[in-house]
């Protein structure tokens, strides 16, 4: 891995991404059956309108502050710094402290407000780790909207706690048994339902993938992470970070923290993908590292696929990264060189999780632990005084049951 400082490049200004066709360079677009096209066009138009409406932002900002607990703190990771050799300054952006325990609520509150404004009273969503499902159920409970969550059967088992939380808040959870019974199949099933119900139901897509306008909408609602972090780190350090690190499944927390630094071209982005049991094993979810350009779940992006163009089942210890696709804006960052995307194995993430629990008194989510493992890995090569910002996207409480299978504390 080379950490040589990349020559300053001129990147396309961010307000042009995506373009009117929902494209980030060659990526993105709206590849869906015709039945959904008009609904997505209407959604785009409605979204453009509310995003330009100051009263929407007042409503959303108030909710984020008074209900969700924003701004989230920026925490200096002193003991991690020490353990890594004492030559770095490391800050965690604490999305684990957001209500419901992960960054997902930023998006669901925004989209539920949007759904209310366009008169849709019924919400569907997919979920992998269950965090997006919980965040959707939460926002729906808050506004009294009917909520149906599609979740792969395998995920309902490894994330039983989150299934219970969703039900407790009044959501209906539908276990999906088709395909690999994980996140991608939950999205398939939610899309199939939406084909029939799109005129009265809003689909709250959970990540910055899917057909236009979802990649842009989800990014815009998650951008609050990076905007806050940018202000906080400037206030604390008087300068921008050298590196921003975040995990990437579909990529919503990472795009949320990266995007506001897009024009700060000296700030390097590190998107950390799940390498599962290792690339050679074939059991991984390293979509940008190993995928090829394809069209999956409504957009053109990197996709894990076979030589016959079939989607390859992903594998990761963390349900939230277990996805063979990735948001088109990440593919654009990867292709244009604005961001670097690297894989981290299950065992490396597990070790980072334990280390962070002991060093910081923070149990990070398994997803987040991939980003932390990358920090541990690259630390020896970083120059003294390097300033690192890491998105601590969620807390690990939801993972405790599956962690007990992997970690022996006797």
């Amino acid at each position: 891995m080379s950490l040589a400082v990349s020559p300053e490049k001129t990147f396309v200004p961010l307000d042009q991404r995506p373009d009117k066709r929902g494209r980030f360079g060659q990526f993105g677009g709206r590849f869906v059956p015709e039945t959904l096209v008009q609904t997505l066009m209407d959604l785009e138009e409605a979204y453009d309108k509310v995003w330009a409406d100051p009263s929407f932002h007042v409503e959303l900002d108030t909710l984020l502050r008074e209900y969700a607990g924003r701004p989230t703190p920026l925490t200096r990771a002193h003991r991690t710094e020490e353990a890594l050799g004492g030559h770095l300054k490391i800050y965690f952006k604490r999305e684990d402290l957001l209500h419901t325990g992960a960054h997902k609520l930023n998006n669901t509150l925004g989209q539920v407000l949007l759904a209310r404004r366009i008169g849709k009273k019924r919400i569907i969503a997919e979920t992998g780790a269950g965090q997006h499902g919980v965040a959707t159920a939460t926002a729906c409970a808050l506004f009294g909207l009917e909520c149906v969550i599609y979740m792969g059967k395998e995920d309902t088992e490894r994330q039983a706690l989150n299934v219970f939380r969703m039900k407790l808040m009044g959501a209906k959870v539908i276990p999906v048994t088709s395909g690999t019974a994980t996140l991608k199949d939950a999205i398939n099933e939610a899309m199939r339902e939406w084909l029939a119900t799109c005129e009265e139901t809003h689909y709250i897509f959970g990540t910055c993938a899917g057909p236009h306008p979802f990649p842009r909408m989800v990014r815009d609602f998650q951008m609050v992470i990076g905007k806050e972090a940018r202000e906080q780190i400037l206030a604390r350090e008087g300068r921008l970070p050298d590196h921003v690190i975040a995990c990437v499944g579909g990529g919503s927390n990472s795009i949320g923290i990266f995007h506001p630094f897009y024009d700060d071209t000296k700030v390097e982005f590190w998107g950390v993908e799940a390498e599962g049991k290792g690339i050679p094993s074939g059991e991984h979810a390293a979509t940008i590292t190993m995928g090829k350009v394809g069209v999956f779940h409504g957009s053109r992006s990197f996709v894990l696929q076979t030589e016959d163009g079939q989607i390859t089942p992903a594998h990761s210890i963390s349900a939230g990264l277990d996805y063979p696709g990735v948001g088109p804006e990440h593919s654009f960052y990867a292709e244009s060189g604005r961001g670097r995307y690297v894989p981290i194995r299950d065992d490396e993430a597990l070790a980072a999780l334990q280390k962070t629990s002991q060093l910081e008194g923070i149990i990070p989510a398994l997803e987040t632990s991939h980003a932390i493992a990358q920090l541990h890995k690259m630390a020896p090569e970083l120059k003294p005084g390097t300033l690192v910002l890491l998105c601590l996207s969620g807390r690990g409480d939801k993972d405790v049951f599956s962690l007990m299978k992997h970690i022996d504390l006797k």
Binding site: R21, Q38, A196, V295, Q310
Partner: protein, 275 residues
């Protein structure tokens, strides 16, 4: 945008149906279901029973527009080792003995993975008439349409009950061959088709579109074909029911060719227009 003129067996078919004052029967068959050998056996049976056009389904791992029956057929075919090159072989073999038009029908990704230039070359060589990619809507289809047209192949496009009238003019400008009109909101084979459901819809489409309109999704029985033909469809598409017919014949140990032949024949009886 003006499309390059495409004229192949598919266009000849619709001209012939018009002259005979009847609708065309389009059958969807998942390639490789339950095995490649079955598809090779069944393609000639379909043609001989009166099928006018075959949609050869290219199975995909994540078919979002399909109901449970065709999802299952795709999964079975993929598990049995079905691939895109095998579908091309089937196509070439079928073309040596039959002139029935064939379009490849599936998700966009398996086509995209090969590259559309390659797909167009392969299909032209194998003797197919075009493709339909369920998740390639009109607004994303320009380049693909041009590449296919340059090899005299159609890109068949879907229209849906949710497509507003104001967008139909661009369909009229760009679509060639025929337009596949999805009869209801939802996935394949999961709802019934009624006159009430389709008459306003087909009427609205007809005001803007002069190319043949094929109605599909939910057409299973001869009576459904009659409903569609009486309502003014130029063609009907049957998919789920054919897969179910094949599943049933195999499960019951019946004569597969005869069962399929009889089922298709029962549908062709309803194709003539009453006036």
């Amino acid at each position: 945008m003006t499309s390059i003129a495409v004229n192949n067996r598919l266009d000849t078919l619709f001209a012939k149906c018009r002259a005979e004052n009847r609708a065309a029967l389009i059958l969807y068959l998942t390639a490789g279901f339950p095995t490649a050998a079955h598809t090779r056996r069944l393609l000639p049976v379909l043609a001989e029973a009166g099928c006018d056009l075959v949609e050869l389904g290219i199975p995909f791992s994540d078919p979002i527009a399909d109901g449970p029956v065709i999802q299952r057929a795709s999964a079975v075919a993929l598990d049995a080792g079905m691939t895109y090159p095998q579908a091309l072989d089937m196509m070439s073999e079928f073309r040596r003995s039959h002139q029935t038009p064939v379009i490849f029908f599936g998700a966009y990704n398996p086509f995209l993975y090969r590259g559309m230039d390659q797909v167009a070359d392969d299909l032209a060589k194998a003797g197919a008439e075009g493709i339909l990619a369920a998740d390639l809507p009109l607004d994303e289809s320009g380049e693909v349409r041009d590449v296919l047209a340059s090899r005299n192949l159609h890109l068949v496009t879907l229209v849906a009950p949710t497509t507003p009238e104001r967008r139909l003019a661009s369909f009229a400008d760009q679509c060639t061959g025929f337009i596949y009109c999805i009869s209801y909101k939802g996935t394949t084979g999961t709802q019934e088709v009624t006159t009430d459901l389709i008459s306003d819809y087909l009427g609205r489409l007809r005001r803007h579109l002069s190319i043949p309109l094929a109605l599909g999704f939910g057409i299973k029985r001869p009576a459904d074909v009659r409903t569609a033909v009486d309502t003014g469809a130029d063609a009907v598409v049957v998919g789920t029911a054919l897969i179910e017919c094949i599943e049933k014949a195999i499960a019951e140990g019946a004569d597969l060719e005869k069962t399929v032949f009889d089922y298709v024949s029962s549908l062709t009886k309803e194709l003539p227009r009453r006036r």
